[in-house]
Point group: D2
Chain length 338, copies 4
C-alpha cells in the first residue's frame, strides 16, 4: 500500500501516519518525490483499510498494491485446484460439462431430460428446485418436491447433482441432495449464505454477480475458503453493461484473468451469459477457446414449454451438435472431452 | 405486450401463438404491418413471460409494454405513501434525515454519537450491528452486542432505530430493536430475505443494488409488498459504472423516475453514493433538490478513528453545517425541515 | 509511479528497470517489502507510460500515482478560472445559464425563442446549426443557413452564442458566429478537432463523452490547453450506464470531483442528462446544489413541434418557473443569479 | 412503433396522434387494452422519432419495434457481404487475419515487422501513422512519414494496408496508401468523418465505440452505406464496463448478434479488447470460436521497446503459435485459414 501526501506535509502529520502504520503491525517507508511525498507500507497490508489513512491529515490518496484475497490466490498455491466429485473431475485436463433444465418442473420432465443427457454421456446434472426470480409473481420452483425429484435423478442415473441454495433455512435439505451447491449471481455477496455453505465442506459453485469485478468474485470465494472449504468452482455468467441486445454481457475476458490470479477452476455459463438459445453454442465454444474448465448449459427437451428460461435453452439435438464441436475443440486447447 | 412475427409467418404458427395467449387468460390482437406482423396482447400481461413466446415458431421479438410491478406502482395508488414511525413521518412534507455512524463500534462510541445527533434535532438513528464486508477479514460488526447498544440508544434518547439485517437467522433479534429494518444493496435481490422481512410487517428500508435498474428496485419492493407489507422506504445509494473517481455513481436521476412510477418514498444516501466525505454535503443538497424525501448520512464523532467508512463520514460540525443548508433548501422544493 | 516486482526478481532485471527510468529523465527508488519489491519513480512521471514498464522482465504491475494532466489541474492553478465572454462571466460567483432550442429550425423559430429568452434575462443562447445524429436519416441541422440565423440573433438581441462544431472544414464559419464553440459528447476524444478548436483561442465548451471518466474529460481539456487556449468550460451531460429508464445517467458526482481536481468551470446539462422534459427542472436544481457553475437547458416555444429533442425541452413557462427556483437556490450555495 | 396512452385518454388527443402519424406517411392502428390504449404504427417507421410522439398529450410511452438501420441490415440483404480487396477476401469462408504493430515507429521497424509477417503468410498489414492518444503529451505517430513507410511496405511486400484516419484534412494522403481505411473507436460517432470516408468508396474498417451498443455500431455503418459505399468491415474491440482488471471488456457476444442482424463482416480485435499480451491468444481463439470473420492482432518484433501498446502486442513467436492454433480451430467453425 502507498500513501501519498503533499510535498509540504508537516512533519507531525507524517510521523502520525507512520506511527499508525507501525501500530497496525506494518512497516512504513518514506519515498520523497518532486510533486508528492509517498509512504510505502510493507507487511500484512491485506489487513489494512485504505480509508483508515484517507481520513488522516495531509493524506491525498491511498493506493493499494497487493491483493486483498489470499487463500484463493495463485500466490498461495501455484498449481491448479482439481475437484474430484464422485469420480468426476472439475479443473483438470478433462472439460466438465454441466447440463440440465433451468428448473425442476415435474417428475416426468426432470427424469426425461436426465435420461437424455445420461445417454449423451453427461456426468453433471443441473436443475433448480428453488428459483430466484425478479418478480414475486413468477414461478418460484417446486422447492422440496423438486429436491425429491433430483434425488431420484441421482439414484436412477448416477448423475452428479448441482442445485441452487437461496435461503440458509433450506441448507440441510439442499446439501442432502446436491453434490455441488450453487450460489447464484444475485447472492454472490450474500456473505451470510457464503459462510454457511462454506461450513458444509461441500463443493460450491459460485456464480459471478451482475456487477461484480473479478476481484469481488475472488473475495467472495475467499469467504468460503475462510471456512476451510477449498472445494470452490467459479462461474462466469455475464455482467450487466449498457448493451441491451443480449440478456447480459458474457465476459469471457474473466477466464484468463481468473486463471492468472487464482488456482480455482472456472466454468462459463453461456445460457445466462448471452441469454439467446441460438447464440449459446457460439459462446460455449468461445468460452472453452478462452480457457474455461467447463460449461454450464441449459438443456430442455421442449424449450417451447419450459416454465423458465426456455428462450435460452438448447434442445437435446442442439446440445448434441454442440458436444460434437466441443470434442473437436478440446485438443486444440490442450483439453479432453470424453 | 407485443409479439413480432415475420410478415410471411404461416397461419398455423400465428394461431398457435394466439391460442397460447388465450390459454394464459389474455387477449390477442393482430396488427398487420408492412415489414412485420404484430400481435398485441391485453389483459394481465404482468403474469406473462416474454420468453414463453420468444421460443415459439415465427416469433422474432417480444416487447413488454406495461410494467411488471403492481402493488408499488402509481397506477395502483395515486397519492404518495407516508409512513408514520413512532410519530415521525417519512414520505410526507417533512424531510426525513437519518444519521449515525456506519457501524456500532462500542457502547461509548454509539452513545456519544447518539447524544450529539439527538441534540442536533435528529429523529432517526442509523448504525450497523451486522456489517456486510467484501473481505472476510474486515470488521464484521459487534453483532448481538451491537443490537444491545442500539436498544440502549433507543431507550435513552428516544431515537428511531434503523439497522441492517443480513441473515434470516437474526430476524427476531434485529426486529426487536429496529424500528426500520434495512436491506442493503448487496441483498436487494436476496428474495428469501425480502419475503421474510416482508412478513414482519415492520418498516423496511430497501437500498438499490449496485447493478439494479429502477425497475429491479421496484420489483424487489413488490416482493415485500406481496407479503402485505406496504411500509417500504426506497433508497438510492449509488450504482456501479465505469467511473472510478468516486466510490459509486450516485444516480439522482432515479429520484424523479421513482416518484413518477411509484407511490413509495425514496431517500438518498450520499455517503455511500459518492463515498468521499468532503463531497457528501454537495450530493446531499443535490439529492433533496432532485426531490428526495430525505437522506441517510453517515456521521461519526471521530471519522479518523472509525472502524469502517470513516473516509465518507461527516463530523458533527460538518453535519450541522449541512443541516443548516438543508433547512434553507427545504422550502424551495416545497418541503419542511424542523 | 510505482513498479511492482516479485520479491525474488533477479538483480539484472531490477537494474535494467532502474536504468530505463533514469534514461527517461526520472528517478527510481527501491522499496523492499515482504511480499513484493517496489520501485517508486519520482520526477516528470506524467510523461511515462505504464506499459513501457509492464512489458519488462520481472515486472508484475505498474501503478500510477500522480495525474496525467497538468495545465488544467488544481495543482497548476489554485484559484478558479473565470471566463469573461462579452461581459458575462462563466466560473465566477454568478451562475451562467445557457438556454435555447436543440437546433436552429427556421429563422422565425430561432428569433422567437431568442426574444422570449432575452426577455427572461438570459445572456447565453444555444442552438445547433450542425447536428450530430446517430441516424443518417434524421434531421442534420440547417448548417450555413442556421449560422446565418444565429448571427441575426446575436446582432438583434445581443445574446452570446454557443453552437456546436462537428467538422474542421466548418471551423471558420462557426468561429465567426459563435462566442463559445461547443464540442459535443461524441467528439470529446476527436483529438484532431480538439487541437483545431484549441488553436482558435475562442472559449470552448467541452462536453463529457458518454463513456468518458472525469480523468478522460480533463485529458481532453488538456489537449485544448496545450494549444495555449485556457478558455475552457467543461460540461457534465450524462454518461451511459445499464439504466434504461432515463436517456443517460446524469452524473452529478462529477461536479465536486472536477471542482477538486481542476480550476476550470463546469456546467451541467440536465436536458440531455436525464432526457425527459418534466424531470429536467429537478435535475437542474440538483446540479446547482451539487456546485455546478451553471446550466445548459433546452428551451423551445413549442416543444411538441421541435425537429429534435422536443421531448426533453422545456416550454418558456416551465423555464421561467425553473429560473425562479434557481434564483432562490443560488444564495444557499453561495452564488448569485441575476 | 407502438404508442401507449392512458385508457381514459380523450378522443381529441387520440385523433391528433393518429393525424400526425398519417401526416408522416405512416398508418395508425388502435389497439384497446385493459390497462392502456395502444396505437400501433406501420409503414416507414424508421423515419419517425419516438420523441415526436412522447411530447404529445396523453402519450405515456413510445416503443420502437423495427430497427432504424436499413442498408446494413439482414432484412435488406440475406446473404453475407464478402469484400475482395486486392484478391483477398474478408467475410467469406476464409478467415481474414490482420496483423502489425500499433504504430509506425521507424522505417526499419515497419519493414522488419512486415517482412516477418509476410513470411508467416499474412496478407493484411496494420499500423498507425496517425495515433489517437488520450494524452496530448503521448507519441502521436509519424504522420506523413509513417504513410510513406507504409507505401514502401505495400510495394515491397505486396501486403494490403490498413491504417487509421483521424482528421478529414488527411483523407487524400491516407486514401492514397491505405487499401482499407480504419475509423477508430473514439471516432465511431464522428459523423462528419463517416460521411467523408463513405464518399471515398474505399473499404472501411469501422471499430465499435467504447460505449456504443451494437445498434449504434450498425447505425454508424449505415452512415457509410448511405454514401453508397458498402465496403464496410465491422470490428469488436472491447467496450467500457465497471471491470478494471482488463483494459476493456471484449464483448464477443456482439459477434453472433451482428451476424444475425447485419450482412456485414465482423472482425475481433483482442489486442485492444483485453489489452494484456499474454491473454490475447485466448481471446483471439474465443473470437473465432464465436463466429468472427477474422482478427486484428498487434504484433511487434520487440514488444518491450514499442512506442505504444507494447504491453498488448504479441512477439512474432507468440503470433506464430497462435496462427497454428487458429489453423486447427478454423474447420471446427466451418472456416479455412491458409
Amino acid at each position: 500500500m502507498m500513501i501519498l501526501l503533499e510535498l509540504d506535509a508537516p512533519r507531525t502529520d507524517i510521523e502520525k501516519i507512520k506511527d499508525k502504520i507501525i501500530s497496525l503491525g506494518c512497516t512504513p517507508h518514506e519515498l520523497p518525490g518532486t510533486r508528492k511525498l509517498g509512504i510505502g507500507i510493507t507487511g500484512a497490508t491485506n489487513l489494512l483499510k485504505e480509508d483508515d489513512f484517507r481520513v488522516m491529515k495531509s493524506v491525498e490518496d491511498v493506493v493499494r498494491i497487493s491483493q486483498k484475497y489470499k487463500l484463493v490466490s495463485r500466490e498461495m498455491k501455484k498449481e491448479d485446484t482439481i475437484l474430484n466429485i464422485s469420480g468426476n473431475e472439475i479443473g483438470g485436463k478433462n472439460l466438465a460439462i454441466i447440463a440440465g433444465p433451468c428448473s425442476v418442473e415435474s417428475r416426468e420432465q426432470i427424469l426425461t431430460i436426465a435420461e437424455i443427457l445420461k445417454n449423451q454421456g453427461i456426468k453433471f446434472f443441473r436443475a433448480g428446485a428453488y428459483k430466484p426470480r425478479s418478480s414475486p409473481y413468477a414461478f418460484q420452483g417446486l422447492k422440496e418436491k423438486g429436491l425429491e425429484y433430483l434425488a431420484e435423478v441421482k439414484s436412477q442415473f448416477g448423475l452428479t447433482i448441482i442445485t441452487e441454495l437461496l435461503n440458509p433455512h433450506n441448507i440441510t435439505e439442499v446439501a442432502d441432495v446436491a453434490d455441488i451447491i450453487q450460489i447464484g449471481a444475485r447472492n454472490m455477496q450474500n456473505f451470510a449464505l457464503l459462510e454457511e455453505v462454506g461450513k458444509t465442506g461441500k463443493p460450491i459453485l459460485l456464480k459471478r454477480g451482475l456487477s461484480a469485478t473479478v476481484e469481488d468474485l475472488l473475495m467472495s470465494a475467499e469467504y468460503i475458503a475462510a471456512q476451510n472449504n477449498f472445494n470452490i468452482i467459479l462461474c462466469e455468467r455475464g455482467i450487466r453493461t449498457f448493451e441491451t441486445s443480449t440478456r447480459n454481457t458474457l465476459d469471457l475476458n474473466a477466464v484468463p484473468v481468473v486463471k492468472k490470479h487464482s488456482h480455482l477452476p472456472i466454468l462459463v455459463d453461456p445460457s445466462h451469459g448471452i441469454g439467446i438459445g441460438d447464440k449459446v453454442p457460439a459462446m460455449a465454444l468461445a468460452g472453452i477457446a478462452a480457457g474455461a474448465d467447463g460449461l454450464i448449459i441449459e438443456v430442455h427437451h421442449k424449450p417451447e414449454e419450459a416454465l423458465s428460461d426456455g428462450y435460452q435453452s438448447l434442445s437435446p439435438v442442439q446440445f448434441e451438435k454442440l458436444m460434437n464441436k466441443l470434442k473437436q475443440l478440446a485438443p486444440i486447447v490442450e483439453r479432453e472431452l470424453k
